[in-house]
């Protein structure tokens, strides 16, 4: 049962996830998750801890490998499962090429501590894409200006606040010019007063029609910025609907219980 968000828009979805199953040992953390995300969609994935939402996100760019199902990114098949139930990933170079279409922002930032802010941003464009520093540095500075951290250009990450670190992480991901941005609880490790600056950068990105998949506990962000909201619980998508509808009239009792608890 595919849960397509915008069935009427003709273009192929940016992300197609089909019946994704994943277990850690005996625990089945994803019990057949399917989701389509169109270009420019901002999808918030909400749900209680342990509902499998982060794992689902990490399955999309192969930080976790799935047991069965299929993932297609902008028309390219990352992984598929044949009729016999054999799950097959694309060959390594192809895999890397497909995954490069997705930038990712982590809960723990994962900046490179031995590199300055600027070096963090230009590392992958230089090493992976082979760009010349002269080409990428102005672009990196532009990204830093965008997230409001140009003055921190030459600072090391340890000198930054959590919110600043996360904004650098966003700029670092954007420097690779991804088509899709994945956010894995980007504000969960931040002090409450610092979440605003990160959410502002994300909102700005959404306004530029970046395709975004955001695992979050920020209900305000889910409601105000996302185009649709996915509620996950116990390894399945319980409900996936446009943001306004989801918060106004959640259909499923589990969704209702969760939202009442969160809001």
């Amino acid at each position: 049962m595919p849960s397509t968000m915008n069935e009427l828009s003709g273009a192929a979805p940016m992300i197609v996830a089909r019946d994704i199953r994943k277990r850690f040992g005996v625990v089945e953390v994803l019990k057949g998750v399917s989701l389509d995300i169109d270009r420019g969609d901002v999808v918030a994935v909400i749900g209680p801890s342990g509902s499998g939402k982060s794992t689902f996100l990490r399955c999309l760019n192969r930080l976790e490998s799935i047991d069965s199902g299929a993932v297609v990114i902008a028309g390219d098949t990352l992984v598929s499962t044949d009729a016999a139930g054999v799950c097959r990933y694309a060959p390594d170079t192809e895999l890397r090429r497909i995954c490069r279409k997705m930038g990712m922002v982590f809960q723990q930032f994962n900046l490179f501590p031995h590199l300055t802010v600027l070096q963090n941003i230009i590392e992958a464009p230089i090493t992976v894409q082979g760009l010349a520093p002269a080409t990428i540095i102005p672009k990196a500075e532009e990204l830093l200006r965008k997230v409001g951290l140009l003055d921190k250009r030459d600072s090391y990450p340890s000198r930054l606040s959590g919110g600043q670190k996360q904004r650098v992480a966003i700029a670092r991901a954007l420097a690779m010019e991804p088509d899709i941005m994945l956010f894995d609880e980007p504000t969960s490790a931040l002090d409450p007063e610092l979440t605003g600056e990160v959410l502002r950068s994300m909102r700005q990105l959404a306004e530029e029609h970046m395709t975004m998949l955001v695992v979050t506990h920020e209900m305000a962000f889910a409601r105000e910025v996302s185009t649709s909201v996915v509620f996950m619980d116990e390894g399945e998508i319980v409900e996936a609907r446009p943001a306004g509808e989801m918060f106004a009239s959640p259909e499923h009792p589990r969704t209702r219980a969760f939202l009442e608890h969160m809001l």
Partner: protein, 217 residues
């Protein structure tokens, strides 16, 4: 004082031998140790297992025994049996032995880097090799400087073991003079020489640690 100046010549000659063994061992065993560590943490089960066994063997037997084996027993080993002169035999033994210790230091360093660093590098499109070279190893260097300092200082003093192959390092030179002149003064001078060498190393490592202190974790 005159006496000290008089024995300085042979002691300096001994120091030259000591320094040669030290520098050659360091120069060769650090890269070998790094290769061993990378194999050990790799997903190649067989290579990892072999390295494991190698480290067990090298750390589990005395360096002096290894040196004696390579010098006296290796010539009689089929296929790989070669007869090495004393200096190369000593270097081979030291390099093989110290590479095992350095490999363990590197391994501990590599495994101390958080998984998030690998994941961040991976989602940015870096290959495993690029991740190691550009992200992991530069951070490892900072973390392993203190144990590396320890190990290299130990190496300076371990060089005195080459006396078993009748080579005239600093300590053997000093002992020769002690036995000849019936005075323990050469030992004191030799101790001073060792202290100077380890002092230089301590300073060198302090400098490196300061240089890497520009960033915190």
């Amino acid at each position: 004082m005159d006496y000290v100046i008089q024995i300085l010549g042979p002691l300096l000659a001994g120091t030259a031998v000591t320094l040669q063994v030290f520098l050659l061992t360091l120069l060769l065993s650090v890269p070998l140790g790094l290769v061993l560590a990378l194999l050990r943490v790799s997903h190649f089960r067989i290579a990892s297992g072999i390295v494991n066994g190698y480290i067990w063997l090298m750390r589990g037997t005395p360096l002096m025994l290894q040196m004696l084996f390579i010098y006296f027993a290796l010539p009689f080993v089929p296929v790989i049996g070669v007869r090495l002169p004393d200096f190369p035999a000593a270097i081979v033994a030291f390099v093989l032995n110290y590479a095992a210790y350095f490999a363990e230091i590197f391994r501990a360093g590599i495994q101390s880097i958080e998984r998030g660093q690998y994941e961040a590098a991976r989602v940015l499109g870096l290959t495993y090799g690029q991740t190691m070279r550009r992200i992991v190893l530069p951070q490892v260097v900072k973390r392993i400087l203190p144990p590396m300092s320890n190990e290299t200082i130990t190496l300076v003093k371990d060089t005195s073991l080459i006396y078993v192959l009748a080579m005239n390092d600093l300590l053997r030179a000093a002992r020769g003079i002690v036995q000849r002149d019936f005075t323990t003064m050469p030992f004191v001078v030799a101790a001073a020489f060792y202290l100077l060498m380890t002092l230089a190393l301590t300073w060198g490592f302090n400098y490196l640690e300061k240089r890497h202190a520009v960033y915190d974790e």
